[in-house]
């Protein structure tokens, strides 16, 4: 009963937030709109980090790699091939997924901190490559002058902050919805089970490596798509956008939001990034101090934030055992050995 209430309340809050986000550009100034658009991109990467860290139990510091792949693919496609948003989005997601697929053999057998360090190394390597592959990436100073995107064939190019923000919002909302659906399928269930006890999962006959690879590639695609949102929001990208501090802040944001919860990750990552960007503007020179203090405070204000969110999630998602009447209808097919 109380689970039902909580679920309702969460739904109401989510709907309220969504409505707020839709009307935001008409309420706030251009700067805030631009900041929000950028934040949305990073929040989406945060979701992909949460998918790996919280749901699959593989903490990652390397989601900036597919994120960067998507962003640069989008920037290159945007300035040379097509200014259609859908095309850019698909290309970016594909690039992210491809890079993630290349990384999979490196990380699929590793666990815990080892994954953290391997992904960190990969993230750093990608930044080095971005800095040196000047013909494509523009080197360490980055790529500017990506033409304004038109969301779909026949639609006008987005020239205002509002337009870019709404485009970002639609993309992010769609993808987050897709992730939420994914997590409700058996794939999500098996991933969570693997996080708890991999040996048991194997003993039950699941191919753990396949599930983890799938999670990596899906997360890579999401991060890649986020990269294209960043390009649209910021019209400029450089290796600095994909550096270690971005990864670290994303991971921390996801932790604040409760690692296993997609909504939490979205909010946490968005908060951390937005607060950082905002602080650098309003408190010149003291941003790191305040940000650090905020992190410490977060730990105390949300002492069980991580676990609370997780247990709430599993409560909400728990399948109700079938009533006895349903037993006859149990359909169990035969499986070839």
């Amino acid at each position: 009963m109380s689970g039902e209430v909580i679920r309702r309340a969460r739904g109401a809050v989510a709907a309220l937030v969504l409505v707020g986000l839709v009307v935001a550009p008409w309420v706030v100034d251009d700067y805030t709109t631009a900041l929000l658009a950028r934040t949305l991109a990073l929040a989406l990467v945060g979701v992909s980090v949460a998918l790996l860290t919280g749901v699959a139990g593989m903490p990652t510091l390397g989601q900036t790699a597919p994120y960067a792949a998507g962003a640069y693919a989008c920037a290159v496609v945007g300035s040379r091939v097509s200014d259609v948003g859908v095309v850019q989005l698909v290309v970016a997601a594909g690039a992210g997924a491809l890079l993630a697929a290349l990384i999979v053999p490196l990380v699929v057998h590793a666990r815990g901190v080892i994954v953290l360090m391997i992904t960190l190394a990969i993230g750093e390597l990608v930044v080095v490559v971005l800095g040196r592959w000047r013909s494509v990436t523009g080197g360490t100073d980055g790529l500017a002058g990506v033409p304004a995107v038109r969301p779909f064939w026949g639609l006008p190019a987005l020239a205002s902050d509002q337009g870019r923000y709404l485009y970002a919002l639609v993309v992010v909302a769609t993808l987050v919805g897709a992730v939420l659906v994914l997590l409700r399928t058996r794939a999500g269930l098996v991933l969570r089970a693997g996080r708890d006890d991999e040996t048991r999962l194997r003993a039950s006959g699941h191919r753990v490596a396949v599930h983890l690879s799938g999670a990596h590639i899906a997360a890579g695609a999401i991060a890649g798509a986020a990269g294209s949102v960043l390009v649209v929001a910021q019209q400029y990208i450089s290796p600095a956008d994909f550096g270690f501090d971005t990864s670290a802040l994303l991971l921390l944001g996801v932790v604040i939001g409760g690692t296993a919860s997609v909504g939490g990750a979205l909010v946490g990552a968005a908060l951390v990034i937005a607060v950082r960007d905002w602080l650098f503007g309003v408190l010149p020179g003291h941003a790191p101090l305040v940000l650090g203090a905020l992190f410490v405070a977060t730990v105390y204000l949300l002492p069980t934030g991580v676990n609370r969110a997780r247990s709430r999630l599993s409560e909400a998602a728990a399948p109700q055992p079938d009533p006895p009447a349903a037993q006859e209808r149990a359909t169990v097919g035969e499986v070839g050995g």
Partner: protein, 298 residues
């Protein structure tokens, strides 16, 4: 005769990088030693480790005046200050002690950010000057090459430290308690030992080690705005590469990093920017795969 001369000439340019790789690797080991204890052995993810080192570094910069007495003083003050910071950190960590690495990371990262900017606010954004005793300032001749004397001294310091750490962790009751607390803190408490005390002790020791490393390493990885990050990253790499808690492994990893950063760079200058992280990813991935296979076979 000429053949030999040609032979030496071919090796000769790499001699000093190779030696320096050892010294640099040992410096990295000393810098990482606190984290070995904290993260490798006690499994407390302390992202403020670089900050503890920086405390030592700034102490050195503030107190060193070129004399031996000042070195001793700086060492004492640096060790005490960093150990105190470690205890403080342990106190802060108490509420998340049973939590995951990730919440520890959140807390210690926050402390590192805030503490780092306080340090820079206190000591100024410029890199301060570090004056070691004059005898160590110069260079000595090694196999016909000039080499910094101070770095040679490091080889001794690191060797002593490695041996001491090994003995403490493997052979003493304190070391056993720390390892036991990683497995099951509740059961340690049921043996009558407070896990909170163990944590405080570990962080104090880690702080002391980091402080000592910061003072002694100041002439090489000097205090500055980036020191904390550099040291943290290098230490994490070394500790994880070394197999989390194995002293010999960590030393080996540190030496490997040292050689990659020096000899590797000398041999393959074009690959220099990729070397460290590519090697790290490759080694970790190979070892993870190896473990996975071994786990299945044995």
């Amino acid at each position: 005769m000429t053949a030999v001369a040609v032979g030496t000439n071919r090796i000769d340019p790499y001699l000093i990088p190779a030696l320096d790789g050892v010294a640099y690797g040992l410096l990295v080991f000393v810098a990482a030693s606190g984290l070995v204890l904290c993260f490798g052995v006690a499994n407390i993810l302390n992202l403020a480790h670089g900050l503890l080192y920086a405390i030592g570094g700034y102490t050195a910069a503030a107190l060193l005046d070129g004399g031996w007495a000042s070195l001793a003083l700086a060492l004492a003050v640096g060790v005490l200050a960093a150990a105190a910071a470690g205890v403080l950190l342990a106190g802060l960590l108490t509420p998340v002690a049973t939590g995951s690495h990730l919440s520890q990371a959140l807390l210690t990262f926050g402390v590192a950010l805030a503490g780092g900017s306080l340090l820079v606010a206190g000591f100024g954004p410029d890199d301060p000057q570090v004056q070691v005793p004059a005898t160590l300032e110069g260079s000595v001749m090694v196999a016909g090459h000039r080499y910094a004397a101070y770095r040679l001294v490091f080889i001794v310091v690191a060797a002593v430290l490695a041996a001491a750490l090994y003995l403490v962790v493997r052979r003493t009751r304190a070391g056993m308690l720390v390892r036991a607390a990683v497995d099951d803190p509740e059961m340690v408490a049921c043996l009558g030992v407070s896990p909170a005390r163990i944590r405080a002790g570990v962080l104090a020791a880690a702080g002391a080690l980091a402080g000592a490393a910061g003072v002694l390493g100041a002439p090489i990885i000097g205090p500055g705005t980036d020191t904390a990050d550099t040291v943290l990253l290098l230490s994490l790499v070394v500790v994880v590469l070394g197999g989390l808690g194995s002293m010999a492994g960590t030393l080996l990893a540190a030496l490997a990093i040292g050689e990659i950063q020096t000899l590797g760079v000398a041999l393959l200058p074009a690959a220099a920017p990729f070397l460290l992280f590519a090697a790290m990813a490759a080694v970790l991935a190979a070892r993870a795969r190896g473990l996975a296979v071994r786990w299945r076979t044995a």
